[in-house]
Symmetry: C2
Subunit: 216 residues, 2 copies
């Protein structure tokens, strides 16, 4: 029997490090829509050659986090209103299902953790910190969905988040008077009550909420 087959603490591959860094920045809205990226630029920024930069970018393009022109230039996506509506509908479909599957396994410790995260969100809103808001909001949802024990669905949901990242920043950034997340309280209340229809409605409302900002 092999004693130590795990490269767990080994240095992660360069392309993976670059991928994770870029992915994090995109998902939490660090990059505005339409931002152009170059392989050599990414390479020098993370002190690697073009090869790992290319692989990280390719992976993000495959996930829809970046778009690639016919000539190979990559940039953050500028989503049309129709595409935003589609992505919101996908979020509603997948996340309602995830929440529903998580409900039977949601015990008190989880609900309290979500309440803590929700308090952090309220802080971010008060400080007009868009990046912190987006990041903590995603953490709120992910905390719940992890309990669904459905990794493929969660991966799909994260892919959708990733695609909306730059646009979310643009939306929340231009927003002046933001109210604390009202639907998060409904989600927590439904979890407490074990109310599945109420939970589905609350999640759907929370996810679809951002759409109304498009009309502004």
């Amino acid at each position: 029997m092999i004693l130590n087959p795990r490269p767990a603490d080994a240095a992660p591959a360069a392309h993976d490090r670059v991928y994770r860094a870029l992915r994090g920045r995109i998902m939490q809205g660090d990059l505005p829509p339409g931002e152009g990226l170059t392989l050599r630029g990414i390479g020098s920024e993370y002190e690697v050659s073009m090869t790992p930069a290319r692989e990280a970018v390719r992976r993000l393009v495959a996930e829809g986090a970046l778009t690639m022109s016919s000539s190979g230039r990559v940039s953050t996506p500028e989503l049309s209103n129709e595409r935003i509506e589609e992505l919101a509908a996908l979020r509603a479909l997948i996340e309602v299902e995830l929440a529903s599957r998580a409900l039977p396994r949601a015990h008190m410790a989880l609900i309290e953790r979500m309440q803590t995260i929700n308090a952090t969100i309220a802080e971010a809103v008060a400080h007009r910190d868009a990046a912190s808001y987006i990041r903590t909001n995603l953490e709120f949802h992910r905390t719940l969905y992890l309990r669904a024990q459905a990794p493929a669905m969660l991966a799909m949901a994260e892919t959708v988040w990733l695609q909306m990242g730059p646009t979310m920043r643009a939306l929340y950034g231009r927003l002046r008077k933001t109210e604390p997340p009202q639907f998060h309280r409904l989600i927590i209340a439904a979890l407490r009550a074990g109310d599945e229809p109420g939970l589905r409605l609350a999640v759907r409302s929370d996810v679809t909420q951002g759409l109304r900002m498009l009309a502004s």
Copy 2:
């Protein structure tokens, strides 16, 4: 004004050609689950160097069509029953929505085209041709979903198909007595009648049908 800015008929990039070829083979079940692939092997098979082969493989891994071990070895995925259930549930969620959105735009020519495809499926079943069955079955669904005018959703659905490709082959391959697709007739009938609830049920049934083969 530039007269001819399109590289439409230009030679597609090598990595893209390799990607499409591999993707097609995976989606229609040419490769069994657990099949190992090597970059140099792919490169020599398609007469390219390792670089395009690596990019094609990376892209497929990002889409879940291939799995990558911690040491970087790639192979077609061997799905657990839990994962298959998840993917089937995702298909049900997304494809029911796609069908629902396509329904108002489904005119007679489309329905007739689907009926033609369905006849081809029956032939494939009669000849025990698993690859042809899978390919034509996907064409049946894609023909309908294209009418939904929802490219992001369709891309998600195709990603799920891709992940199930090798497993589908294993499932249909071991199947002896196959009946022609019963639910496809229900789908067509619901389209004709403009019956949205019936369409949703028929699509959900058709998508979930394959799950029963797991119990065998």
